[in-house]
Structure formats: structure tokens, C-alpha cells
């Protein structure tokens, strides 16, 4: 009886992860595509970029960050995939979402400041799931994108 309840619990969590998680992910990707299209006029570079030209002003630090977590389906898919090795697709899409979201938020802050470029951008990822209480906690990670927003003067 206990076994059946456990299996039932597992199946329900798996189904929630599969359907709600996937719907969430697809909505997030659509949102990201729209935001990125909207923010296309702000140029982002990981080097000095526009600031190298010297004709920029209003330098300001801008930061975008997001904490994102896996769903139950991704967790199970990942642990199955890690038995045979290779790309863990379910995590690749998760990390991509996190990183793109962080960049979008950074660009939104730059737009609020009226900037035209964000230069010297750095990306950071920090795993937050090393929890001492759980044997194998759910994976969650923080993504940060930060850089210097500048306005190019003609």
C-alpha cells in the first residue's frame, strides 16, 4: 500500500513537472523573444565596445539577475540522462532561460537610464541548491548579468 502511494505521488509530481513546467517554459521563451526584440536597439558587448571610441557619457553600473529552478520532470529526465551521459537537454534550456532573462533585465535597467550601449558585460552563475538538509535538493541557480551602461554622443 505504501508503495502504491509513493508511486502515485511520484507520478503526480512528474505530471505536474511535465505539463505545468513545460507550459511555463514555453511561455517564458515567448516572453524572452518579445523582450529581446523590444530591447534590440541597446547594443551589448563583453569588451569596451562603444566606450573604446571615447565619445560616451553617463556611465552607470547596471545589473540584471534571476533565480530559476528546475521542475520535477526535468530533475527525473536529467538523472536518467546522466546514466548514459551526453547533453542534458532539460538543463540546457533551463540555463539558457536564466541567462537570457538576466541579460534582458540588465538591458531594461539600461533603457530606464536612457543608455544606448551596455559595455564590459560580465555573466555569472551561482548554484544555490547545495542545501545541507536535503540529500539531493532541487537544482536552482542564480544568473547575474552586469555591465556599464553608457550613452554614445554623436
Amino acid at each position: 500500500m505504501d508503495g502504491i502511494i509513493q508511486i502515485g505521488f511520484f507520478v503526480v509530481l512528474l505530471a505536474i513537472g511535465l505539463f505545468a513546467g513545460r507550459a511555463n517554459e514555453q511561455r517564458h521563451f515567448r516572453q524572452l523573444a518579445a523582450d529581446e526584440e523590444d530591447l534590440r536597439d541597446i547594443a551589448v558587448s563583453s569588451d569596451r565596445g562603444a566606450a573604446a571610441a571615447g565619445s560616451v557619457r553617463n556611465a552607470a553600473l547596471v545589473v540584471g539577475s534571476v533565480v530559476i529552478a528546475e521542475d520535477y520532470f526535468k530533475r527525473v529526465a536529467a538523472s536518467l540522462k546522466s546514466l548514459i551521459g551526453g547533453n542534458i537537454m532539460s538543463y540546457e534550456s533551463l540555463l539558457e532561460r536564466g541567462r537570457r532573462e538576466a541579460i534582458v533585465r540588465m538591458k531594461k535597467e539600461a533603457r530606464r537610464l536612457g543608455a544606448t550601449h551596455v559595455v564590459n558585460v560580465r555573466l555569472e552563475t551561482a548554484s544555490l541548491s547545495e542545501d545541507w538538509r536535503a540529500q539531493r535538493p532541487m537544482f536552482s541557480a542564480e544568473f547575474i548579468a552586469y555591465g556599464t551602461a553608457v550613452t554614445r554622443t554623436p
Partner: protein, 104 residues
């Protein structure tokens, strides 16, 4: 106080280098937020309460860094970097560091 991730402040010149300044803060995810985040974990996606928590921490770390720079007589901090590390017991350290300079 001018803050940049560049080695200079665009449009200004550095007249004096003061040196490394840093600020950090350690925050724990409080129990209520942790339980909510635990539930959210089944559907995945953004953990808004953690995003906010770490944003607050980063602002705090940055403030402390700026405080240190100001105390040293700087009016700008260049080459700023952030780092987050997960230390034991569900707490995260957020650190900001950079080089304090005087610009004109």
C-alpha cells in the same frame, strides 16, 4: 559616486588610484520563503522571492563597497565585479569588489 565595470570612467580621467575596495553580505533564505520556494520547485521557473532576496543582498554589498570607497576619499569605483557563493546552511554570500579611484 561613479560606478563602472570598465577600467575607466568614460569621459573622465583618473587622477589617483586608491586601491581595492569590497563589500559583502551573507543572507539566509528565511523559512517562509524557503517553503514557498520548495513548493514552486515542482513546477520550476523563477523563484521570485530568491531573486528579490539576492537583489537586496547585492544592493547591500554594493552600498558597503561604496561606503569603504568614500571613506578612503574616492569618488568612483572602477572594474567592479560581483560574485555569489552558496555557503553552508542555506545561506548565500554576495560580494562586490572594485578599484577605488579619484576621477576628475
Amino acid at each position: 559616486m561613479e560606478l563602472t565595470t570598465l577600467e575607466t570612467v568614460p569621459g573622465k580621467t583618473i587622477t589617483r588610484h586608491i586601491g581595492l575596495v569590497q563589500g559583502s553580505t551573507v543572507r539566509s533564505k528565511h523559512a517562509g520563503k524557503d517553503i514557498l520556494a520548495g513548493l514552486k520547485n515542482f513546477v520550476g521557473g523563477e523563484l521570485k522571492s530568491y531573486t528579490d532576496l539576492l537583489n537586496e543582498s547585492r544592493t547591500e554589498a554594493l552600498d558597503r563597497m561604496v561606503e569603504q570607497a568614500r571613506a578612503a576619499g574616492a569618488n568612483a569605483v572602477v572594474n567592479i565585479r560581483f560574485s555569489t557563493s552558496n555557503i553552508a546552511a542555506g545561506a548565500a554570500e554576495v560580494m562586490a569588489y572594485g578599484t577605488a579611484v579619484v576621477v576628475s
